[in-house]
C-alpha cells in the first residue's frame, strides 16, 4: 500500500483554554472519500485549516501529500482545493471574474484559464449567469460556484467543509455524484467535513467521528455500526394466521428483545440486544411451530453510531 495522502500525528490546537483539536491521530489513503463527522465546534474546520497550513498547530504534526503544512504551506495549497464553510466569494465580482481571479492565484496556465473557467461554469450550471455579480446569486448557486473554485486547479486532495449545507436535494445529489466521480475516476482524495450523517453514509469509505476536538471513532461505516450499535432492528414476517402465536412466543424471550415488537400489517419489527440474538430467537420461533417467512436485520446507520457515541437518544 502506498503512503497515506494525509498523515496526522497527535495534532493539537488550542484557542485560549479551549482545545479545538486535541491530539488527533489518523491517516487518509489516496483516492479515499474520508468523512470527518462531528457537531458544530467539534474541531472539523480547525483541522482543515491546520492541514492546509492556514493555522499553526499548538503541538503535533501532519503531512499532506508528503508536505508539512507548517513549513511547506504554499506548495501544499497549490495541490489541495478547499471548499470553506461559507462560500467566501467576492460578491461585487461576477462568477467569471471570481474564477479567473483564483485561476491566477493557483497559477493555472494562462492559455487554459478561459477554457477551464467556462467548463466549470457549464458543469455547475452557472454558465448562463456567468457575467452577473455573485451578490445576486442564490445560496445554492454561491455554493456551487465556491465548489467550482475549489476544483479550478485540479487538486489532488479536496477538502469539503459542509458542502451541501446550503443546497436543495437536487443540487446536493449533483454534488454527491461529482464527489464520487472525482474520487473514483480521477483518484482525488476527498476529506469531507459534515454533520450530515446520511451524506457521510452514502459517500464515505471511512469516517472519523470528532467530539470536542477529540477523535472518538474511526473506521468504515459498517465497522463503526458493528462496533458501536449494540442493538439491532429486525423485520420478522410469519404466516399471517400465526400472528397471535408469534406475539405470544416473543414474550418468552425478554432477554433477547429491547422493548415490545412493533406491528405494521403482517410485519413485526423487533429490536434485539445484538446480532448474536438472531439464532436463538429463530430457533425458538421454529420450535413453537411458527412458519417464519423472513427474518431480516436492518442495517444500522451512522446516525445510530453518532448517537451511541454522543450518548444521546435517537
Amino acid at each position: 500500500m502506498s503512503a497515506p495522502v494525509i498523515q496526522i500525528s497527535s495534532l493539537s490546537r488550542r484557542f485560549g483554554e479551549k482545545n479545538a483539536v486535541d491530539h488527533l491521530t489518523l491517516d487518509v489513503q489516496a483516492g479515499e472519500i474520508f468523512g470527518f463527522l462531528g457537531h458544530n465546534g467539534a474541531g472539523k474546520t480547525t483541522t482543515v485549516r491546520l492541514l492546509n497550513g492556514v493555522l499553526e498547530p499548538t503541538s503535533g504534526n501532519a503531512k499532506v501529500l508528503g508536505l508539512d503544512p507548517l513549513t511547506e504551506g504554499p506548495a501544499l495549497r497549490a495541490r489541495t482545493g478547499v471548499l470553506t464553510e461559507t462560500p467566501s466569494l467576492d460578491e461585487r465580482l461576477t462568477a467569471r471574474d471570481n474564477l479567473s481571479f483564483y485561476a491566477d492565484l493557483y497559477s493555472v496556465p494562462r492559455r487554459d484559464v478561459s477554457g477551464r473557467v467556462h467548463s466549470l461554469l457549464t458543469e455547475f450550471e452557472l454558465a448562463e449567469r456567468a457575467d452577473e455579480r455573485v451578490g445576486g446569486y442564490s445560496k445554492g448557486m454561491k455554493q456551487r460556484l465556491a465548489l467550482a473554485r475549489a476544483l479550478l486547479h485540479k487538486p489532488e486532495v479536496l477538502f469539503l467543509d459542509e458542502p451541501t449545507s446550503a443546497l436543495d436535494p437536487v443540487a446536493a445529489r449533483h454534488v454527491h455524484s461529482l464527489v464520487e466521480d472525482l474520487a473514483r475516476r480521477e483518484s482525488c482524495t476527498v476529506f469531507l467535513c459534515t454533520h450530515n450523517l446520511v451524506e457521510a453514509q452514502k459517500l464515505c469509505d471511512r469516517v472519523a467521528v470528532m467530539e470536542h476536538g477529540r477523535l472518538v471513532a474511526l473506521g468504515t461505516p459498517s465497522e463503526l455500526t458493528r462496533q458501536y450499535v449494540k442493538r439491532l432492528d429486525v423485520d420478522l414476517e410469519v404466516d399471517p394466521a400465526q400472528m397471535e402465536l408469534a406475539l405470544q412466543t416473543l414474550q418468552q424471550f425478554p432477554q433477547l428483545l429491547i422493548g415490545p415488537p412493533k406491528q405494521e400489517k403482517d410485519i413485526l419489527t423487533l429490536t434485539l440486544s445484538g446480532r448474536e440474538a438472531i439464532p436463538e430467537l429463530l430457533s425458538g420461533l421454529v420450535q413453537k411451530g411458527l412458519h417464519v417467512y423472513r427474518l431480516a436485520p436492518q442495517e444500522a446507520n451512522l446516525e445510530e453510531v453518532y448517537f451511541a457515541l454522543n450518548g444521546g437518544t435517537q
Partner: protein, 272 residues
C-alpha cells in the same frame, strides 16, 4: 515572489473598491474641492482683500509674523502677490498631504477590514499565495492608487493655481521646488503611512466603516502641520519638506516592519 498572483490581487482589490461608494466618493469630491474650488476662492479672496484694503492690516500682520526664510522667498512679489502666493503655495501645501493619506487609508480599509466584513479572506488564505505576497499585494494596491490620485491631483492643482493667480501675478509661479519635493518625496511616504496605520486598525475593526472612522485619525498630524503653517510657527520650506518626508519614511519602515511581522495566516485566520 509570484508577481502574477500579486497583480491579480491588486487588480481584484481595485475592481472591488471602485464599486464601493464609500471609497469612490471621497476620492472624487476631496480633490475637486481642495484642488479646483479652493484655489479660486483663495485667489479671489486674496485679491479682494488687497483691493478693498479691508483686511490689509491683518494681512500685513500675517506677513510680519512670517519667518524670515519665507519672507525672503516671497521677496520678489508685491504685497498683494505675496498674499496669493502665500495662500496657494504655502498654506495649502500641508492640505495636499490629506489626499494620499485619505486615499490610501480608504483603500486599505476596503481591502483589509472590507475583506473581513465580506468574509472573503478565508478562501484567499487557502490559496498558494504566501503571506508576504498577500501583504505586498494588499499594500501595493492601496499605495499605487493613492500615489496616482495624488500625482493627478498635483497636475490639476498646478493648472488651477496658475490660472487662479494669473491675473495678479502674470506668470507661472507654480510648482516650486518645495512642491516638487512635497509631491515626489513626501506624498508616497504619507500614502504608506495611511495604509500601514489602516492595517493595524483593520485587525480590530468590525468592517469598512468602523476602520475608516478609527483610521481617519491619521490625518491629525497633517492638520497640526497646517496649523503650524497658518500660525507662523513653521512654514513649508524645501528643507522642512525634505525633513518631514524623511521622518515619515522612517516611521513607515518601522510600522511596516511591525505590520509585516504580525501579518501571517494564523493571525489573520483567528482575528479576521
Amino acid at each position: 515572489m509570484n508577481t502574477r498572483a500579486i497583480l491579480a490581487i491588486v487588480r481584484k482589490d481595485l475592481k472591488v473598491a471602485v464599486q464601493n461608494k464609500g471609497v469612490i466618493l471621497p476620492i472624487i469630491i476631496l480633490p475637486l474641492v481642495l484642488f479646483v474650488v479652493v484655489p479660486w476662492i483663495m485667489a479671489y479672496g486674496s485679491s479682494l482683500a488687497t483691493a478693498t484694503s479691508t483686511s490689509f492690516s491683518n494681512v500685513g500682520e500675517m506677513l510680519e509674523r512670517m519667518p524670515a526664510g519665507l519672507l525672503n522667498e516671497l521677496s520678489g512679489y508685491t504685497p498683494d502677490q505675496q498674499l496669493i502666493v502665500f495662500t496657494l503655495v504655502y498654506m495649502l501645501a500641508p492640505m495636499f498631504l490629506i489626499m494620499p493619506l485619505m486615499v490610501s487609508s480608504v483603500f486599505a480599509a476596503d481591502s483589509f477590514a472590507g475583506e473581513k466584513e465580506r468574509k472573503t479572506l478565508e478562501a484567499l488564505l487557502f490559496t498558494p499565495t504566501t503571506d508576504r505576497e498577500l501583504f505586498t499585494a494588499k499594500l501595493l494596491g492601496a499605495w499605487v492608487t493613492a500615489v496616482t490620485v495624488a500625482f493627478l491631483s498635483f497636475v490639476v492643482y498646478a493648472v488651477m493655481v496658475n490660472a487662479a493667480g494669473w491675473q495678479s501675478i502674470g506668470h507661472l509661479f507654480f510648482p516650486t521646488w518645495m512642491w516638487v519635493a512635497l509631491v515626489f518625496w513626501v506624498t508616497p511616504a504619507v500614502a504608506g503611512l495611511g495604509l500601514v496605520v489602516m492595517v493595524f486598525v483593520s485587525v480590530r475593526a468590525q468592517g469598512f466603516q468602523d476602520a475608516n472612522q478609527t483610521g481617519g485619525l491619521v490625518v491629525l498630524p497633517v492638520l497640526l502641520l497646517m496649523v503650524g503653517q497658518i500660525s507662523g510657527v513653521m512654514y513649508f520650506s524645501l528643507g522642512v519638506v525634505l525633513f518631514v518626508g524623511l521622518v515619515i519614511w522612517l516611521l513607515d519602515i518601522v510600522l511596516l516592519w511591525f505590520a509585516g511581522k504580525s501579518f501571517h495566516r494564523g493571525e489573520l485566520m483567528t482575528k479576521f
